[in-house]
Amino acid sequence: MILRLKSLGMAGYLLLLYGFIFLPVATLVLFSFQEGRFPIPPFNGPSLKWYQAVFSDHKLTSALTNSLLVALISSAFACVLGFMAAYGFARYRLPGAAAIKATISAPLTVSYLIIGFGLLVSFNLIGVSRSLFTVGIGHVVINTPLCFAIIYASMGDHQLNIERAARDLGAKDWQVMLRVTAPMLMPSIIAAYFLSVTFSWDEFIIAFLLSRFDVTLPVEIWSLLRSGLNPKTNAVGSVVFLISVVIVLLLEFTIFRRGALRDRQS
């Protein structure tokens, strides 16, 4: 009897917490299908008119394209920088390695607001105008340590022998890195890439401080918020959520699932 009560209590707790976690998202998605002008009860619908409003809003669609471009390109840069640094630290003994690692990882410990503001005053000082390009620079700064940490953690000594074999067979260093090491580490490289894509895609404060005329999606949504509660914001928020969830599920069912399988076999 006590046991029954205990597991009932646990089920209740699970239900309560999952309810809390899903409450805002469920409200957001539900009222994106609202027929009327306000995303508040009572719900009448469903209607797709706010989705239509989102996709016919030129500002929102171009912000969406900008966000995708900045995310895809800046993450590629961050991944290449992070991978090369990880390879350098794992395969060569460098003097002062600890200090350099600390420097490369340092942006992880500083608030985005401060990173963005530092870049803003610096660009201001040397007369660089704000654009999507400067936003991209900021996003490479925050994502390089992330990519470095993820890829470095997956570089073990077990790949060393294969790299040595490649070298013995006459491969040059950069050939070893590109054609032997990189393919072996592909799962973690892809994971690092997509994680930084989602981070960049969702990043607000750096993009807000460093952009001017062309803006990214979070900044455009931010200016949409000034009109108060609006089903259109719900619709665009639901679209963003859908895109992120698709990326996460793709990762879950491709790379991580394969990694888990291989772990089990070995």
Binding site: L17, I21, I40, P41, V121, T233, V236
Partner: protein
């Protein structure tokens, strides 16, 4: 000898791009910000005389100090509530949910993590606003007569933050719990400990370092965040990042904003030093 020098040079070539990028776009901008914090803004121009006036004015003006104490109060409250809510959730998922469902349970628990950060705060506004979901439900059920004013208060800010950090902490505490060897539990049971005693004297102490890492992460992310307090807390009881953003966007007072940013970093550094002995991460 020559070979090892050549090897070193090659190693440098791999590390250099990331290092140079970080120096150019992180370290130098930080130094520029420090320099700005020592300058003054008078009228619309920036006077490049070096002194500590901006830091002095932080301690003289009460609204700056109030911002810091609001930040600290909200952050500490959020950290404590989030841990208290997330620990049991992580524990139930790790210990009571059947093994084959655990990954799904965890994936579900952090799914809203992937909504846009700006949109997530807005979604809480939908729930908490005067005519929002919560008020309408409570009015409909007859629990309250007049709508609760939650939006634009500290309660709304804390709710939005707790939602985010419960997901984050559930993930980190779960990871901590599943890597504990089952031998600890067996040994405790062999020595006659009850389930509660095992948890209290064995499992909980073993997971404290992991919880502290999560708590520190919560502290850092929470105290530096601008979006959640701005959307949910509104313009009452401003926190430090809101005050910094006001200096940047409204007043174009970069020197004061720079000084406040450095004070914010100092607070985070102090928090790091206070928890440093707990923060021995496995891979550094």
């Amino acid at each position: 000898m020559a070979a090892s020098v050549a090897l070193r040079c090659k190693g440098w070539a791999f590390v250099a791009p990331a290092l140079l990028w970080t120096l150019a776009f992180f370290v130098i901008p930080f130094l520029v910000m420090v320099m700005y914090s020592l300058w003054q803004r008078t009228g619309t121009t920036i006077v490049k005389t070096w002194n500590l006036d901006n830091y002095a004015s932080f301690f003289e003006k009460s609204h700056f100090l109030a911002g810091l104490s609001n930040s600290l109060e909200i952050t500490l409250l959020v950290t404590v509530i989030s841990i208290v809510l997330a620990y049991p959730l992580a524990w139930i998922i790790a210990e009571r949910v059947p093994h084959r469902w655990q990954r799904l349970a965890l994936l579900l628990a952090i799914l809203p993590f992937w909504t846009s950060y700006v949109v997530r705060s807005y979604a809480w506004l939908l729930v908490l606003s005067r005519n929002g979901y919560l008020n309408q439900s409570l009015l409909g059920l007859g629990i309250i007569d007049t709508p609760l004013e939650i939006a634009s208060t500290r309660i709304a800010t804390v709710t939005g933050f707790v939602h985010f950090f419960v997901m984050l902490l559930t993930l980190t505490i779960y990871a901590n719990l599943v890597q504990l060897s089952p031998n600890y539990r067996r040994a405790a049971a062999d020595l006659g400990a009850s389930g509660l005693q095992t948890f209290w004297h064995v499992i909980l102490p073993l997971t404290i370092p992991g919880v502290m890492v999560g708590a520190f992460l919560t502290f850092v992310l929470c105290i530096g965040d601008y979006i959640t307090p701005q959307i949910l807390g509104g313009n009452n009881e401003l926190v430090l990042p809101q005050i910094i953003m006001l200096q940047i966007t409204r007043r174009a007072d970069f020197p004061t904003a720079a000084a406040l940013s450095i004070i914010l970093m100092a607070v985070i550094t102090i928090a790091y030093i206070l928890c440093a002995r707990w923060l021995k991460m496995e891979r550094t």
